[in-house]
Structure formats: structure tokens, C-alpha cells
């Protein structure tokens, strides 16, 4: 049986270099360590407790001592935060019973301590294909419970941030969870979606969605499309430090969870359908939105991309 804690310790032993590490390549624990103030992270139910999935053995799968997610508390720019980080390399970061319950417990603790000695924010470092099919029912229900808990935390006045830029992206219920958060930070590699391209191709045929066409997949599901259409709030270059700075900047500007916010979201999403509902590719959206050289947007460097003025309405509090 592998111990993820040990394999990871060997990965990046020099903690001081973590902030400059690439988010996409980093393991969950390294993302957490590099994101938070140095040496402030305390894990809840750490891997030494070996709380593992009991459901994987019957599928001949090896479990992980943390069931693919790290949860705990720490400090960000001096402020107390709760944090959960999914291990995208372990079963695609998918939600199972234990995995989901760890995130749920963290959110409930944030809700119950709000206004007292609770965290200033909750950070969700999503890296997930969605439901873990070997525990499909438990994973699906956990996702619904997590959605409910995120909204309760927000209702209690505590922002919940989604940070997406890992290998597994945020698919399935992970994409829905992302859009329930107060703010969403993505990097170039992030893909945020519900149905994966392979599943669409399997069900609807290659002419509907060619999942092998990587450039197309990025244009349909990727960070740049989300950022330019308002599906993400910040687009960062890929280091852990970039995510840290964006999180610090966004926490004070989280929209409240209330009727006015959802009415604004209703209008925002209805307007998007009105404007772009007949588009088949992101380049058509960008052209309609009046962006110059839309066919180049997917390929330009991050600096050039960040210099683009976002279309009207993409920068919003309607979430």
C-alpha cells in the first residue's frame, strides 16, 4: 500500500521554494503549504490516522491514507482560514464517501464557528473528475451535501473560494461545486465543466465533440473561456504564489448569498444565453463580444491574455 504522505514529502522537500512551484504539477499538500503562510497548516484527520475508503478493495483498488483530500486550517496573510485540497492524481481526485465527508465536516465547522472564532474564509483547492464511480451514490450525495454546506457557510458571512488549476480540472459535481463558491480563481490549465468531453463523445458521437482535439477541449471547457464569460473571477499565471495573491485579494470582495445576488445571477446567465446561445465555439463568443483577434486568444501568452479587457459583465458580483 502506498503512503501518499511519504511519496509527497520527497517531491518538494525545500518548503521555501513552494510558492514558486507550478500549481499544475504540485501535489495537494505542497499546494496547501505554498499557499498558506509558512508553517501555519494544521491538518484534520491526517494520513497518520489512516482514515481510508472501505469501498475500494472490492474493486481491486489500492486506497490512500487521506482518501485523496487534505483538510485543515492555517493562516493566509495572517488571517485564519480553513482549507481543503484534492489530490488529482489519486483516482482523479474524485469524491467518495470518506473524501466527501472530510470536506463536509470542514465546511460545517466553518459554518458553526462563523462570527465567533471561525475562519475568515474557506479555500477549496478543487482537482477532481467528479463522482468516484466505485462509490457513486455516496460520492454524489456528498457533492450535494457539500453544495448545501458551502451555501450555509456563505449565508453565515464567510466567503468560500474555489481554486482550480490541476490535472483533473473540476468536472461533474466538481464543476457545480465550483460555481457555488463566492469567488473562483483559475489558471491556464484549469478546465471547469460538467460532462467530460470523452463522455459527450461516447454518448453523442465524435461530430458533437471530438475529445482528442485538445485545443477544442480547452476552448470549450478551459479557463480562458470561463474567465472571459464570467464563469471565473480571476485568471492567474500558474505558480502557487499567483493563486495565493489572488485569494488574498478576493476574500474581502466576496458577494453575499442572498436574493439580490441570485437575481443578478439569473439575469447574468439569461443574458449569456441571449448573447451567445447560438455559438458553437469559444472563438465565436469572443468575436461576438467584440474582442480583437478572437482566433488568437487561445494561443497567446498569459501576459498578453491578461492585458485583454474582459467583455462587459464578465467582472461581476452575481455569483
Amino acid at each position: 500500500m502506498t503512503n501518499p504522505a511519504q511519496t509527497q514529502a520527497a517531491n518538494l522537500s525545500n518548503q521555501s521554494q513552494l510558492p514558486d512551484a507550478d500549481w499544475y504539477e504540485a501535489y495537494a499538500r505542497d499546494r496547501v503549504a505554498g499557499l498558506l503562510d509558512p508553517d501555519t497548516f494544521v491538518e484534520f484527520i491526517g494520513p497518520e490516522q489512516r482514515v481510508m475508503s472501505p469501498h475500494l478493495a472490492q474493486f481491486d483498488l489500492t486506497g490512500a491514507f487521506d482518501d485523496g483530500v487534505v483538510v485543515g486550517r492555517g493562516r493566509l496573510d495572517g488571517q485564519k482560514v480553513f482549507i481543503a485540497a484534492q489530490q488529482g492524481w489519486f483516482l482523479g481526485g474524485a469524491f467518495g464517501e470518506v473524501h466527501g465527508a472530510k470536506v463536509l465536516g470542514l465546511l460545517r465547522a466553518a459554518r458553526d464557528s462563523a462570527g465567533k472564532d471561525g475562519p475568515r474564509a474557506v479555500l477549496l483547492l478543487l482537482d477532481t473528475g467528479g463522482v468516484r464511480l466505485q462509490e457513486a451514490n455516496a460520492g454524489e450525495l456528498a457533492i450535494s451535501e457539500i453544495i448545501g454546506a458551502i451555501l450555509e457557510v456563505r449565508n453565515a458571512g464567510v466567503p468560500v473560494l474555489a481554486l482550480v488549476g490541476g490535472r483533473a480540472g473540476a468536472f461533474g459535481g466538481g464543476g457545480i461545486i465550483t460555481a457555488c463558491c463566492s469567488r473562483i480563481i483559475v489558471s491556464k490549465h484549469a478546465r471547469v465543466s460538467v460532462t467530460g468531453p470523452e463522455v459527450i463523445e461516447t454518448n453523442k458521437g465524435v461530430e458533437e465533440f471530438d475529445s482528442k482535439d485538445r485545443a477544442l477541449v480547452w476552448r470549450v471547457c478551459g479557463a480562458r473561456t470561463r474567465y472571459l464569460t464570467g464563469g471565473a473571477d480571476r485568471y492567474v499565471k500558474g505558480t502557487i504564489k499567483d493563486f495565493r495573491e489572488a485569494a488574498i485579494a478576493l476574500i474581502p470582495h466576496a458577494p453575499p448569498f442572498e436574493l439580490a445576488t441570485l437575481k443578478a445571477e439569473q439575469k447574468r446567465l439569461a443574458d449569456r444565453l441571449q448573447q451567445f446561445g447560438d455559438c458553437r465555439d469559444a472563438t465565436e463568443i469572443w468575436r461576438k463580444a467584440g474582442l480583437s483577434e478572437p482566433e488568437r486568444i487561445a494561443d497567446i501568452a498569459d501576459d498578453a491574455f491578461l492585458a485583454i479587457a474582459r467583455p462587459k459583465g464578465a467582472d461581476h458580483d452575481a455569483r
Binding site: 484534520f44 470518506v98 463536509l104 465547522a109 460538467v194 459527450i200 471547457c221 436574493l259 455559438c279
Partner: protein
């Protein structure tokens, strides 16, 4: 059960339900002891996509804005989320999340919310339309699922026959009302032989559980043994670390 049968047996005292675009339903019905309830829904096995989700959420938000505490009943006969490039390009995750948020807001504002499943609902559509209400009722014909067994077989590379055998020993992965009831996802199962209007009146008359009790229910039903304990352990460790 057909939609007409469902409406007739749930709302014998009267209902007015319009069928709109994208399989959407909206209207109102009378429930003994509850007065008028808001009815929304998705019918005809229609996959839930961006167009349907935005219409449903609009009706739910209108009910919240109207004030009062009238219950909201969500009738569900869908499929999975609409699996299409267009929906993903437009950000289906935001539309499904918006519907889930609207139902959560309604519950937070004092509306009793109940989804009533009388057909299929799978994957993201199951989350947004069925699991986002405070209660989920399964009627005859309900077919809740995360993913069908042949697809699970493909992904897990386990033969379908083995999966079918395994499904008899655990409710943790197999589709269907029974396993999803056992883990706490389905609140109640109603049979066609029962007077459904009475059951609905009784359900809506009960205050919703204080907070999300599905992990506790799954433990009581012995279908999901770990979730509640793990969530509590995390919360306990967080509380022990409070103030630091």
C-alpha cells in the same frame, strides 16, 4: 406514473400547471392544510441543460421574491444533464449551480422544498433538480442514478455480472431507489396504492430537518456508515484547534 396521474393524485383539490419550453413545468396546486404550493418541474425525460435550468431557477426565485412561505414542489422526470458541447461551452456548471442555489435560498427563506421524482434523473441533473430540495420523494417509476452499471463497468473495468452481484451487497454505487434510500439521498418512498395527497400534505406539514440530516439518516438506515462520523471527527478536530 404519467405526469397527469402524478398531478391528479398529488393535487386532487386542484392544480394549474403549464408546460413550457425545454420540458419545463410551472404553476401551482392546492394541498390540504398547506394552501397553495408553487409547482415547478421538468417532464418527459428531458435532459436538463442551460435553457431548462435557467427557466426553473427563474420560477423558484420568483416564488422567493413573492414572499410568504408557500412550499415549493419540484416534479422531476428528466435524464442526465444535457450532454452537449454547446451547454458546456456556455458554462452548464454555472446554470446547474444556479438552480441548486435558488432552491437552497428558498429553503433558507422558509419555503419548504420537496423534489418528487417520478421518472429518471441522473448525474448532474439528479444533483441540481432532485437532491437540491430539502426532501426527495420517490414515486413509482422513479429511476435515480449517478451512472448506469454498464458505464460503471466500462470505467472500473469490472465485468457487468460482477457489478450486479456486488450491488446486492452494498448500496454504495448501484443505481435505483432502494440504494439511494439506504444512503439517505431519498427521504421517502411512496407507493401508487397510497393516497399521495395525504402523504404530500403530511410531508409539507412537517418542518424540514434542522440542517442537512442526510448523513445521519444514511447511518440510521445502515446504508452509509462512515460519512456522518468522519464529518463529525473533522468538525471536532477543527473545534479543538479553534482560536489558533
Amino acid at each position: 406514473m404519467t405526469l397527469d396521474e402524478v398531478l391528479a393524485s398529488l393535487f386532487p383539490s386542484g392544480h394549474a400547471v403549464e408546460r413550457g419550453r425545454s420540458g419545463m413545468l410551472h404553476g401551482s396546486g392546492k394541498v390540504d392544510g398547506q394552501g397553495d404550493v408553487t409547482i415547478v418541474g421538468i417532464a418527459g425525460g428531458t435532459p436538463l441543460g442551460v435553457d431548462g435550468a435557467i427557466l426553473l431557477a427563474d420560477r423558484v426565485l420568483a416564488a422567493v421574491e413573492a414572499g410568504g412561505r408557500a412550499p415549493i414542489v419540484v416534479l422531476v422526470d428528466t435524464a442526465s444533464q444535457n450532454m452537449a458541447r454547446r451547454d458546456e461551452l456556455l458554462g452548464l456548471n454555472e446554470y446547474l449551480a444556479h438552480l441548486a442555489k435558488s432552491l437552497a435560498l428558498a429553503a433558507a427563506c422558509g419555503h419548504r422544498t420537496a423534489s418528487i421524482l417520478y421518472g429518471p434523473a441522473a448525474a448532474g441533473a439528479f444533483i441540481a433538480a432532485a437532491l437540491s430540495s430539502r426532501s426527495l420523494v420517490a414515486l413509482p417509476g422513479a429511476q435515480p442514478s449517478v451512472m448506469d452499471l454498464p458505464s460503471i463497468s466500462r470505467v472500473t473495468k469490472l465485468p457487468l455480472e460482477d457489478l450486479k452481484k456486488l450491488a446486492k451487497t452494498t448500496p454504495i454505487f448501484a443505481p435505483g431507489v432502494e440504494p439511494l434510500f439506504a444512503i439517505g439521498a431519498v427521504t421517502e418512498i411512496w407507493a401508487a396504492s397510497e393516497p399521495l395527497a395525504l402523504r404530500l400534505s403530511a410531508l409539507l406539514g412537517k418542518p424540514a430537518a434542522d440542517g442537512d440530516a442526510r448523513d445521519r439518516i444514511g447511518l440510521e438506515r445502515k446504508g452509509r456508515l462512515l460519512a456522518q462520523k468522519i464529518a463529525e471527527r473533522v468538525a471536532a478536530e477543527a473545534a479543538a484547534n479553534a482560536g489558533k
